[in-house]
Symmetry: C2
Subunit: 339 residues, 2 copies
Amino acid sequence: MPLRLGTQVITLKTRHPFVIARGGSSDYRVVWVRLADADGVEGWGEADPSAYYGETADTVLAALGKLEPHLPADPFDLEQAEARFAQLAPNSAAARAALSAALHDLVGKRLGQPLWRLWGLDPARAPRSSFTIALDTPERMREKVIEASSYPILKIKLGTDRDEEILKAIRDATDKPIRVDANAGWTRERAFRMLPVLRDFGVEFVEQPLPPRDLEGIAALRRQGVLPVIVDESCVVATDVPRVAGAADGINIKLAKCGSLREALRMVAAARAQGMLVMVGCMIESSLGITAAAHFTPLLDAADLDGAALTVNDPFRGATIEGGQICLPTEPGLGVRRR
Amino acid sequence: MPLRLGTQVITLKTRHPFVIARGGSSDYRVVWVRLADADGVEGWGEADPSAYYGETADTVLAALGKLEPHLPADPFDLEQAEARFAQLAPNSAAARAALSAALHDLVGKRLGQPLWRLWGLDPARAPRSSFTIALDTPERMREKVIEASSYPILKIKLGTDRDEEILKAIRDATDKPIRVDANAGWTRERAFRMLPVLRDFGVEFVEQPLPPRDLEGIAALRRQGVLPVIVDESCVVATDVPRVAGAADGINIKLAKCGSLREALRMVAAARAQGMLVMVGCMIESSLGITAAAHFTPLLDAADLDGAALTVNDPFRGATIEGGQICLPTEPGLGVRRR
């Protein structure tokens, strides 16, 4: 009997409007995916579409409908299933990532093992996650820093014309480690000016300072030697890694970009082969989506998995980032339950 | 209770002396490694030392003795166990590969799943293996071609001063696909002369035409555009992949070089990220060593896993290459038994 697919759109609400350099919102429509086998065991996954990559909850549903006839007969047949999905729905990474997570969840549940254990990983090696302070007025960003008091590492979204003001407001409120994500919002000129400012504010590293295709500019920034430079939008899948290896110090993996858990592991391997730093990021997601990404964090240097912690109506319980430490579930598969 | 380590040296005998460009022998001492858990479940692995990489059965035993106190408490803790082994015994890849295989075998047996299935692979995608005709007189090589009648792809070891004569003798005896391994036995001048000759004899690709460090020469040969060039000795571990990516069309993975099953998978990912061909090779090994490598062949383009088929006293039964097709066991773990 083939796997049965169930889908449900969930509207996640964030505590504050989540604004980055490209704009933002308080409502995020994600898709909860369920794959049931003949014994009624269910694998769960979540699609967290990014408008930046051309996906919405509706395109996700359409892609899932297209992929449904191509689900594997056996959920263990992961390599071929994912390859088929990638061929049939190349531009639906979020949808594919949900199916990938659901298949992995099902395999783990069948074997009675948490995914990190099937992958041979030590959950104690999961890094701490940063917690994002989204764009706002300096005063409100300072308030958010206080709300985030339990998180030891902050991530600041910049790429505006008041970046220095924002940094100063946050530095006045805390001396915690800060990481900066410019979401491709700077020009070369501005980035060259900003990196020393970031360093002076004690920033640990900067993500995607320039537009994705400006690898030359990114490489020049890196040669400046001021701060480690991580690429996110410039590096979507594993075949992008060799191209960015000469330009950046590290990559930021996201399941909604790369489209599968196995591709994420391949990105880790490809980046490590280049001696690069590797981190994982997320969208606004429930704990279901976050947990899928959390399972491979023992392989990483850094994580930004605050997507569920930023919401007020997370329907799931899975990996947590309480106190900043990523804590992986010990239940089989993804180890995610309804709240 | 910690895992208990058992070791036993086995002397494999080849049907014919196995001679390559660097010399050869008929007797091969390998080490059978057993890891028993508290329930008496045993994971098996095999160390196939290569003198070229400075290992012998005796250095393997010494390395295993050194690593024994550092075995994981839990065989599932593969990532950290392998990392520890690599740190403690960096020059003992064959010894480490045996422990890696034994741990993977144990995990698979505990879960009741063959390793390929735990890795999400489809055994039907395993490629065919070539069968090696070792260096000998042209007449005896022709005899060996006849003995190898059940194998559809032949691999010829060259790198001598009578390469053309050997090729002609073999081509006179068969029209099967031929692959050539020069084992770093040519000079640049000779390699440039030989590649068009190989092409004219219908050779599919050439392995390691020049010394490992002559990547410039290898790149120049590749630019000649005559035949795909695969590197073996030039590419030992995943961090070598970016370095050889500009020089060669593909890599040949061997467990006795890279030291672990997980490193082999990382090499596949790193090479695929570069768009490279990937094959797997072997030493003279029993079916135990061959089977460990066979489990990841569904990810590969080509395989040369004839190490056990070349012996006359293989103590094990596992993956087979009958008729050239790699056939993966369906039993849990590696799926290897005593004959």
